[in-house]
């Protein structure tokens, strides 16, 4: 009985801590403006970033050279996105308000991925410029 109670409370607190932690990572990119370059590359120049853009943005991210310092946050946000996806699917017909919230959160995850992509593109350009400078 006590083990069951501890189990339920622990899972509930774990979810709360995990959601808050993921949101603290997402919050760091919320105010960052996307460059025209990344909007052009991703094809999101005309419309807002959609929740479902995350997977596509992640694929583009993998094509760019790694900066080496953003892997942890990308993995954490990727896990958060996956959990939101499951929660959204489960709650769509039962609790629409939760489904709407997960959609909004997934959109934030996609925006985060777009910012990460923007940073990697800038990093790649800097690398190319540096290499060009070294050759000349």
């Amino acid at each position: 009985m006590i083990a069951a109670l501890i189990c339920v409370i622990s899972i509930a607190t774990f979810l709360q801590f995990f959601v808050s932690y993921s949101r603290s990572i997402l919050a760091s990119t919320r105010k960052v403006q996307l460059s025209d370059r990344v909007r052009e590359v991703t094809g999101i120049a005309a419309h807002e970033i959609a929740a479902d853009d995350f997977a596509r943005l992640l694929q583009l991210l993998r094509l760019c050279p790694e900066r080496g310092d953003d892997q942890t946050e990308i993995r954490a946000v990727g896990t958060y996105y996956g959990l939101l996806h499951i929660l959204g699917d489960v709650s769509r017909s039962i609790v629409p308000s939760v489904a709407a919230w997960t959609e909004q959160e997934r959109q934030s995850c996609s925006y985060f991925a777009a910012v990460a992509l923007d940073r990697r593109i800038s990093y790649s350009r800097d690398l190319l410029t540096q290499q060009g400078g070294d050759r000349s």
């Binding site: 409370i9 709360q16 801590f17 808050s20 949101r23």
Partner: protein
């Protein structure tokens, strides 16, 4: 039961990350500023190394390893309490109540130690794996409650220091997942997959702390209202 490459991989990764947190704190000259946290990481690193040594010397199923695991984990809980107390004093730094926090912490620690002593004393003739799992579950749960109260205070006081917020949340994730895993193991002793959660969390905590210390500047600020998940 034999340990596989994944067990050793998790061990090594955890150990390296723990060492990284401590060494990078030295290099940043932050060791004393986060003394209890670094002491905890150092303690976990030493215990991890010791576990490896004891398994190699005596075997995973030996009594020696069993008692080493049991006692070292108890010591780590004491260090973890100091980390939580450090976070409380950081949170209430402007209220000048650190004296009371330390007093309350000493009482709590003494009470937990006394309670554990009574439980262990009564069960000293049958210190089984199941008993240890139950004790671990309870100690972890005390940690979860302490961290949850701390998180509640952070929200209530509208704390904005991103570093403090992320350090506390990472610790909360670690302890709630571990307490949940031990509770589930108590309920379903044969569920093999649950065995993986504590080692994975052993990697998660130093990884998350290393990330926070290297990526989040000391003066970074964050509105806590943004962290509250609300379905409209």
């Amino acid at each position: 039961m034999q340990l596989g490459p994944i067990d050793y991989g998790l061990w090594l990764t955890g150990f390296l990350l723990e060492a990284f947190v401590v060494v990078s704190a030295f290099l940043r000259r932050d060791f004393l500023r986060y003394f209890s946290l670094n002491l905890y990481m150092l303690g976990v690193a030493v215990v991890t190394w010791g576990q490896y040594h004891y398994i190699h010397a005596y075997g995973f199923n030996s009594r020696t390893y069993f008692y080493y695991f049991y006692y070292s984990d108890g010591l780590l809980y004491i260090l973890m309490y100091f980390v939580v107390i450090h976070f409380y004093t950081q949170l209430f730094v402007e209220m000048n109540v650190s004296r009371y926090i330390r007093g309350a912490a000493v009482i709590l620690l003494a009470a937990t130690a006394f309670f554990s002593y009574i439980v262990v004393h009564q069960s000293k003739d049958h210190l089984t794996t199941r008993f240890v799992v139950e004790l671990e579950q309870n100690l972890n749960f005390v940690g979860v409650v302490l961290i949850y109260l701390l998180w509640g205070a952070i929200l209530k006081l509208r704390e904005t220091r991103t570093r403090l917020i992320q350090l506390v949340l990472a610790l909360g994730i670690c302890y709630s997942a571990t307490a949940g895993a031990y509770a589930l193991r108590n309920l379903f002793p044969d569920a093999y997959i649950l065995r993986w959660i504590p080692p994975v969390m052993g990697v998660w905590l130093p990884l998350a702390w290393a990330y926070t210390f290297t990526k989040v500047p000391e003066d970074a600020r964050l509105a806590t209202a943004r962290l509250l998940a609300r379905a409209r």
